[in-house]
């Protein structure tokens, strides 16, 4: 069960995003509490990924506030947001394609290194020590996601589900305090999804807060502490998995949106 702490990890207030005349988010508010797994669900086009993009700085919101531990994030570049401990993955598989798994993770470790231009050009000794420490860290992360046997292989040549694990490893390497996962189970088999679900729980147990967008209801209901339901750019329900499953608006949104489709 989630530990409820007084300090909020992430707070989103009245977040709105419009693309031209299309309203993708129409004033969304929610909180993500530290040490929990919070899932955002909703029909396609509900605004889930848009919210992710706005939180992580890939999209400038039209209106609203996003705060992390009380500090506003709005207007920061994605790399600056990552430096504050908020790291995301992408809906479509996103790796460094021509590099090995190990090199992918080494890039993820960027913020854990500190060698500057002078250290590098002068070949200072502490740079070498840092490199071997980073390589060691990379190994640990690769083992953690279960890709130890793929370390030296080129990322784009791996099967789809393993590429998603590479992506997860790259994100973990950036040492997130808040990890945003955009459909980590998409395109996976049931067994693979279950494994990813277990992995996400282990990540949460290592005191990383997780915000998840996912379509697979079994996975969402199985691992989430809190579920947020979105539809048409708004939050229509929020609560523990059991209460969400019984929520009349949610049932209507899902069945309704399926019935509305032409």
């Amino acid at each position: 069960m989630a530990r409820v702490e007084s300090a909020l990890t992430l707070s989103v207030r009245d977040l709105a995003v419009r693309f031209g005349g299309v309203t993708a988010l129409a004033g969304v508010s929610f909180d993500v509490h530290p040490g929990t797994i919070t899932s955002v669900i909703g029909p396609n086009g509900a605004g889930k990924t848009t919210a992710f993009n706005a939180i992580t700085g890939y999209l400038r919101p039209t209106r609203g506030r996003i705060e992390y531990v009380g500090v506003p994030l709005t207007g920061l570049r994605p790399s600056a947001i990552a430096a504050r401990g908020i790291v995301r993955t992408f809906q479509r598989t996103s790796v460094f394609p021509s590099l090995s798994v190990a090199d992918n993770v080494m890039i993820g470790l960027h913020l854990r290194g500190s060698a500057g231009v002078l250290d590098v050009l002068l070949g200072r000794r502490r740079r070498a020590a840092e490199e071997s420490r980073l390589a060691h860290d990379a190994d640990g992360i690769i083992e953690f996601v279960g890709l130890g046997h793929r370390r030296g292989e080129v990322a784009s040549e791996l099967p789809y589900s393993e590429q998603r694990l590479v992506e997860l490893a790259v994100a973990l390497a950036a040492r997130p305090r808040l990890l945003l996962l955009d459909e980590p189970g998409a395109g996976m088999t049931t067994a693979e999804k279950a494994a990813v679900g277990r992995l996400i729980r282990r990540i949460r147990d290592q005191s990383t807060t997780v915000l998840l967008v996912e379509h697979d209801m079994r996975m969402v209901m199985g691992i989430s502490d809190t579920v947020i339901v979105m539809n048409h750019g708004r939050v229509i329900a929020e609560g523990a998995p059991a209460s969400i499953q019984a929520h009349p608006d949610v049932i209507r949104a899902y069945l309704g949106s399926a019935g509305d489709r032409d």
């Binding site: 890939y58 790291v87 995301r88 790796v95 394609p97 890039i107 980073l134 790259v170 994100a171 950036a174």
Partner: protein
């Protein structure tokens, strides 16, 4: 590679002026060295960050002019003018990096071309300083105390040291978190940002280092040919650099040097065997064949072949 395998090329390089014989060959080697620095420099941007600079001759020219003007007009020593040339080109690289901050691909290429065009126009029209199209003759040869480095056999060593320096800079950068950030920008910019790589910062850094290296090559060129004119800004210089990098193997350390050696020596070799109309044709056909059969370049192809031969 065995120890002897490494030792022999070093020995050959160190004794080259002694056994190469003809000063003409030595001239070709020196030019290959200068182009080697340029190719290494372009490779840093094109091969690692994935951004094509088609204005690279501008950085080369800025270095050449800075060094020539400081030694001619202010009578500075070459040893002071060289770092100034490096700094001036580096500054120009910083400017381009800042201008192109959000531009990628074709837009980045356009900014670099325009920049080179503007600089070339300045060199032609700012008569008071650059002497316009007449150029700057009589650039002094460097000297080390009482010894002039004018002779080709001596200048060769100066260029050799510069090539090694450029190579070392590239190698150290590429093997570090900075080099990984460059590659991250080439491979997947959005993902790189998501793990905290400030890609624009690293693009500017790559542009500065790359331009500074090209400036070093420019200075070496000016004090070698001892004449600088707006020709140094010619687009064909940039094209030659691109050919060297792509044919040698972009994104590899040895590729640009191999490319520079081949594509400096090749036109000279062709000149010796055919008339000039056929030279260009042969050069073109060879280039097409190379791109067709070794699309990733000579060095990656050799590496793949060696891996295949000895699994």
């Amino acid at each position: 590679m065995t120890r002897a395998g490494r030792f022999v090329p070093v020995l050959l390089a160190l004794t080259l002026p002694l056994w190469l014989g003809s000063p003409y060959f030595l001239h070709v080697v020196i030019m290959a060295g200068i182009f080697g620095i340029l190719a290494l420099s372009l490779n840093l941007l094109l091969g690692y960050t994935g951004q094509l600079s088609l204005g690279h001759a501008a950085f080369f020219g800025i270095g050449a002019y800075t060094s020539a003007l400081l030694t001619l007009r202010l009578e500075w020593s070459f040893w002071l003018a060289l770092p100034c040339a490096v700094a001036a080109s580096g500054l120009a690289g910083w400017l381009i990096g800042r201008l192109a901050l959000k531009l990628r691909g074709a837009y980045f290429v356009l900014v670099t071309i325009s920049f080179a065009g503007v600089i070339a126009l300045v060199s032609v029209n700012w008569m008071d300083v650059t002497n316009g199209p007449l150029g700057l003759p009589g650039v002094p040869a460097p000297a080390l105390g009482p010894w002039s480095l004018r002779a080709k056999s001596v200048y060769y060593y100066l260029v050799l040291v510069a090539v090694l320096l450029a190579y070392l800079v590239c190698r150290r950068l590429v093997a570090s978190r900075i080099g990984r950030a460059f590659v991250a920008l080439r491979e997947n910019e959005a993902l790189a940002e998501s793990v905290g790589v400030d890609v624009t910062h690293y693009l500017v850094l790559a542009a500065v280092v790359s331009a500074a290296m090209a400036g070093m090559a420019g200075s070496l060129y000016a004090h070698y040919t001892r004449f600088v004119s707006p020709e140094v800004f010619l687009f064909s210089y940039t094209v030659t650099m691109v050919i060297m990098v792509v044919a040698g193997g972009k994104g590899t350390l040895a590729g640009p040097l191999v490319g520079a050696l081949i594509f400096t020596a090749l036109p000279e070799a062709l000149r010796a065997v055919t008339s000039w109309q056929w030279q260009m044709l042969a050069y073109g056909v060879l280039l097409v064949l190379l791109v067709f059969f070794l699309p990733r370049g000579i060095v990656p192809a050799l590496a793949a072949w060696r891996a295949w031969k000895a699994p």
